[in-house]
């Protein structure tokens, strides 16, 4: 379980995170929703130790993250940012192998490492292009390659900043199913930022809605996907209909 307690973060005068507290439930998929610039990415950055917070604490189980060494932290929590590119000539398989770095520290891959890498490649359907160079791939293929790297890292907590960026509908659905499976079958805690409200509504167990650097609403998906709440968060009129027991939101007008 990840607990965020009264975290503040400001860029200059602007308060991005304003006394934010939340507890992410273990073994569930939690989606962060909210408009642009409400602090979603900053929150994930702080939790994954990428950004320094100005005050407050973040705990993994009972341990403050600032007390965990970077080596150990990488075996427990992984994070993928929104856009990924590299200027080095790297094959897909080599990229995915980097996911094992926290365990082997760059030494030779053991057979278990190779096995996990193969499984991650398989999961993301990347076997055909495993020997292609990253810079020759389309945006969606590259995104899948980076996701495979995170899978290979095999951590208890997986944080993804807009993982569906650049992906077509087929792969979006596939990745959301994968994340659901990670949570259900392997007990991993998945926290993602999603902009497609219907994807969030369909696949996540919990939803946290952010506004002005604070958690405005947090609860089970069906408690959050309500017209009045969504209107407050996004400033749009929503119509929520039920289809096969899942909510679907209509907001185009």
């Amino acid at each position: 379980m990840i607990t965020v307690k009264k975290v503040n973060k400001r860029y200059g005068e602007f308060r991005v995170l304003d006394d934010l507290s939340i507890s992410f439930p273990k073994g569930k998929v939690t989606s962060l929703i909210g408009g642009n610039g409400t602090g979603k990415s900053t929150l994930l950055g702080v939790v994954s130790k990428l950004l320094n917070k100005d005050s407050g604490n973040v705990f993994v189980v009972d341990q403050d993250i600032s007390d965990i060494s970077s080596k150990e932290f990488a075996t427990r929590l992984s994070f993928l940012k929104q856009s990924n590119h590299t200027h080095i000539r790297l094959k897909v398989r080599e990229l995915v192998c980097f996911g094992r770095f926290p365990y082997n520290r760059g030494k030779r891959m053991c057979s278990e490492d190779c096995c996990i890498v193969d499984r991650a490649l398989n999961f993301m359907e990347l076997e055909d292009i495993a020997d292609k160079y990253i810079d020759e791939l389309s945006g969606g293929q590259r995104q899948r390659a980076y996701l495979a790297m995170v899978l290979a890292q095999d951590t208890e907590y997986v944080l993804l900043d807009e993982p569906l960026n650049n992906l077509d509908m087929k792969y979006s659905v596939q990745i959301m199913r994968t994340l659901q499976k990670l949570a259900k079958e392997f007990g991993k805690t998945v926290i993602i930022i999603v902009h497609d409200i219907n994807i969030a509504a369909y696949y996540s167990d919990y939803i946290a809605a952010l506004k002005d650097g604070a958690i405005k609403y947090f609860g089970k998906t069906e408690e959050i996907i309500k017209p009045e709440i969504l209107k407050e968060i996004f400033g749009l009129d929503f119509e929520v209909i039920q289809r096969n027991g899942k909510p679907v939101c209509l907001y185009y007008n």
Binding site: S48, N52, S69, K71, E72, T86, I88, L95, F98, R105
Partner: protein
């Protein structure tokens, strides 16, 4: 690799003249110095480019060379013609190294005091200080005697012609130690080349890695600059040649490649200077010439794609 060894052998054993017993040991010292310089320039440039995530920068942007040139100009400014009677080359060397290293330390520690290092901010400060030193240097050079200026000029070009054996010993030990320490960082640097965020996510202690690497670079650049003069332009050239020819992202390979390219270029260049141009030019002019050409080719090539 083979080519580099070939160049060394050619340089060592051709055009021996009538007194091989005199020529050989002197050449061996030069070769040792050149190999050493090539390795440290190779290491520092490749690592610097990884840290800054940029392929056209070298550590010279941090202002090391301007500190060196400023110091050289300053002592000539003080002592004039008599400079080399007043100051021994050993002293000069030690002072230059200390100054450059001290400069780096002051720069790093004022910057690192803040919790979050921003490498680009560090570069910018180094760049600005470098140009301040540069203008101070030109000011001093402007007001000194033209004859004295020619004394400075000697130290502005890299030269392997009169390397002091004693200095070489000390430098060799320090450089080798720094390379050994540096070699333990290589796996982490591989990860860093994915980008800062990925490196942190994969458990690399980013702050520490950058600090330690920059210190190693500072040691290497100070020593090689003080030993032979400003030669860091070489860094861009050999690092990029290495990326071009070595089909690997691993620092182990690219640094080795860059070092071998360095050996090839420096020793090949020195051979040309000694036997083709009869000492009529200096090796830095040759390297700059080749480097310039290579860059134009690189630019033209990337235009096409």
């Amino acid at each position: 690799m083979g080519l580099a060894i070939l160049v060394i052998l050619v340089y060592m054993f051709t055009m021996l003249g009538t007194r091989p017993d005199y020529v050989l040991p002197r050449r061996a010292i030069k070769v040792a110095a050149m190999v050493l310089i090539a390795c440290s320039v190779g290491y520092s440039s490749v690592v610097f480019q990884t840290i800054t995530n940029n392929r056209i920068l070298t550590p010279s942007i941090m202002g090391f060379e301007s500190v060196y040139i400023l110091f050289q100009s300053f002592i000539v400014f003080l002592y004039g013609d008599a400079t080399f009677q007043v100051i021994q080359s050993q002293e000069n060397f030690v002072f230059s190294v200390l100054l450059m290293f001290g400069f780096a330390l002051i720069l790093y520690f004022t910057m690192f005091r803040k919790e979050n290092v921003n490498v680009y901010f560090l570069l910018l400060v180094g760049l600005i200080l470098g140009s301040i030193f540069g203008s101070m240097t030109s000011f001093m050079q402007m007001i000194i005697d033209p004859n004295e200026f020619s004394v400075i000029q000697k130290s502005l070009f890299a030269s392997f012609n009169n390397i002091n054996t004693e200095l070489l010993g000390i430098s060799a030990i320090t450089l080798i130690i720094s390379l050994l320490i540096g070699s333990r960082l290589l796996h982490n640097l591989d990860v860093l080349s994915l980008g800062k965020e990925h490196a942190i996510n994969l458990g690399v202690n980013y702050q520490r890695l950058v600090q330690v690497s920059l210190l190693i670079i500072a040691v290497q650049v100070s020593i090689s600059t003080a030993l032979v003069g400003p030669i860091t332009f070489l860094g861009i050239l050999i690092a990029n040649l290495s990326y071009e020819f070595i089909p690997s992202y691993k620092h182990r390979h690219t640094i080795l490649g860059a070092s071998l390219m360095g050996i090839l270029l420096i020793i090949g260049g020195q051979y040309l200077v000694e036997h083709v141009f009869n000492m009529g030019t200096t090796i830095s002019i040759l390297i700059n010439f080749v480097g310039g050409l290579y860059f134009i080719i690189l630019l033209l090539k990337s235009r096409k794609i």
